[in-house]
Symmetry: C2
Subunit: 329 residues, 2 copies
């Protein structure tokens, strides 16, 4: 393995000079820098980042824990987190918790052991106190842990309001909302709060059925619709679904059973991730979360925390949403 000594020898300069170039410290003439960099290329030298990380106690690695990296929302979020992190010279470790508390715990422990610089937490099965034990900076997606940890979220309340108002303005009189799991204190639950408030304000009959989040697959939602929704579906003329996969599963069930969409039943989803954008039958009416902005903001927030840039300016971030009118309303 080539060392800094070999580089110094090749460039005809001192080891101190090479070290200065590497660490960008002290005065170095352009000419010397060029010589050192050429020498590095010639002898194929690469500085040992692990040794430097130990010295500086910084690893330039971000850990990102998601329920399922193959879910279209999280896969898109990961992409934008990674692209932004890379611009700032950070790397991203991906961990799939599969919504299992023991896996989530193991990942957090592992990240601590590896001195990951910061954690982006998008999986939320553990008790809030478990996260507080971690010493690294943490930013969460869609969950309030404590005021030590900023969160990033879309404006879930506004989203719920837009969806519900749209259904009411389209003439719906009996509304159903299929929510996410309400036992966890997630910011996504504000979609449900907004649904309730908006229905009350407009004096519209309404009902909420709680979905589970143990499993985020399409197969799960498809079965969920059949077992939990099908029996009472005829009582409603509009449904606000907490995510696009539920909305798509509901659309499929309805059309298979001769219910005309949107004439007899109107459906609004939430997400507008890559799957929904590709889907043409149907083009879903949905609330768009700007996944690219969410990813960038998660990445920049955690990097700002790590680099401690003006701690007072690090805040929770709420990203705007918008209604996308498709063919299901």
């Amino acid at each position: 393995m080539t060392t800094i000594k070999d580089v110094a020898q090749r460039a005809g300069v001192s080891i101190t000079t090479v070290s200065r170039v590497l660490n960008n410290r002290g005065y170095i003439s352009k000419e010397t820098r060029r010589k050192v960099e050429e020498a590095m290329t010639e002898i194929n030298y690469s500085p040992n980042e692990i040794a430097r990380a130990l010295q500086k106690s910084q690893s330039y690695i971000l850990g990102m824990i998601v329920p399922d990296s193959n879910h279209p929302f999280f896969s898109e979020l990961i992409k934008h987190v990674e692209i932004y992190a890379n611009e700032k010279n950070y790397k991203v470790l991906i961990c799939n918790s599969l919504d299992q508390p023991e896996k989530e715990e193991k990942y957090i422990r592992m990240m601590k052991e590896n001195r990951v610089d910061g954690i982006i937490m998008c999986s939320h099965t553990l008790d809030v106190n478990e996260y507080k034990k971690v010493n690294s900076p943490i930013v969460t997606f869609d969950r309030i842990i404590s005021n030590q940890f900023p969160y990033v979220a879309s404006d879930n309340f506004r989203g719920g309001e837009l969806a519900t108002t749209h259904l009411i303005q389209s003439g719906c009189k009996r509304l159903l909302h299929i929510s996410g799991p309400l036992k966890l204190d997630l910011l996504a639950n504000r979609r449900t709060d907004a649904f309730l408030v908006t229905c009350l304000r407009h004096k519209v009959s309404h009902h909420v059925i709680e979905g589970s989040q143990d499993n985020l697959t399409f197969e799960y939602f498809h079965n969920f619709i059949k077992s939990e929704i099908a029996d009472t579906l005829s009582e409603y003329d509009g449904v606000f679904c907490t995510n696009d996969m539920v909305a798509y599963a509901l659309f499929l069930y309805a059309t298979e059973n001769g219910i005309k969409i949107p004439e007899q039943l109107k459906i609004v989803g939430y997400d507008y991730h890559s799957f929904t954008r590709m889907l043409q039958t149907p083009k879903l009416t949905t609330i768009a979360q700007p996944v690219n902005r969410l990813g960038k903001v998660l990445s920049s927030t955690i990097i700002n925390m790590i680099e401690n840039k003006d701690a007072d300016t690090i805040n929770n971030s709420v990203v705007d949403v918008e209604l996308i009118k498709g063919h299901t309303t």
Copy 2:
């Protein structure tokens, strides 16, 4: 920060004993191990993996370079690579090359600097010689670099053969194949080879139009169909598409333009990733690559190389494919 010394003190054993427990070396009684582990939990000790990595010159990190982590195929592949790696105590760094050679180069350099233990290469824009310069173990997905680097692939030739034979047996007489980019020497090109050979063997009229891979998005394929395929589409009664997104874009174009699928035109895709499995309109006829197995095999191959388990047993892996009959043939 708590140290190994604090653990020893708390457990009432020597530092050497704690070190033995940590490194799983030498004889340790069950009782002593329990005491040490309890002490670690009590004082919230976590071994500094960076320091250990430096000592052992192993980081337990795998780097995975993909064109786009949000593409449904790669997002599924990442998930299965990560789940398997995690079982073996490895972590996975994700890098999006976005099919830009300069980004791919930067990532490879970065991984070298971080002493990543091994690289899973799924993005292929660079010249083969660039990969040979890297000293770490590399496994590639779908590309032959040299016999130093094993590859993992689905049986692309068999897939092309199954798709083409199925179209011919369904009565097609004039076949089109929309291939991937043929300028790169990718194993996926064998789908095209198999298409040609199968058409020749059955004396069926055929034509190949080369797709580009600069951009893997659905929007790109949608436009590609309009600009490159639409004009001559009426000359064909069967199309084998190199991936499911192309097949879906073609289906949409055809139905929008009054071409009846499958009566007037039959379509076969390739992949059967999560997007295709969710898609119900249409259920695509396609060649299924078992993405979960591909992910596991990529992960286990690179870990075996890193741990140098019986080097002679490390081979290229070709994973079986199967035809999934949907509604487009």
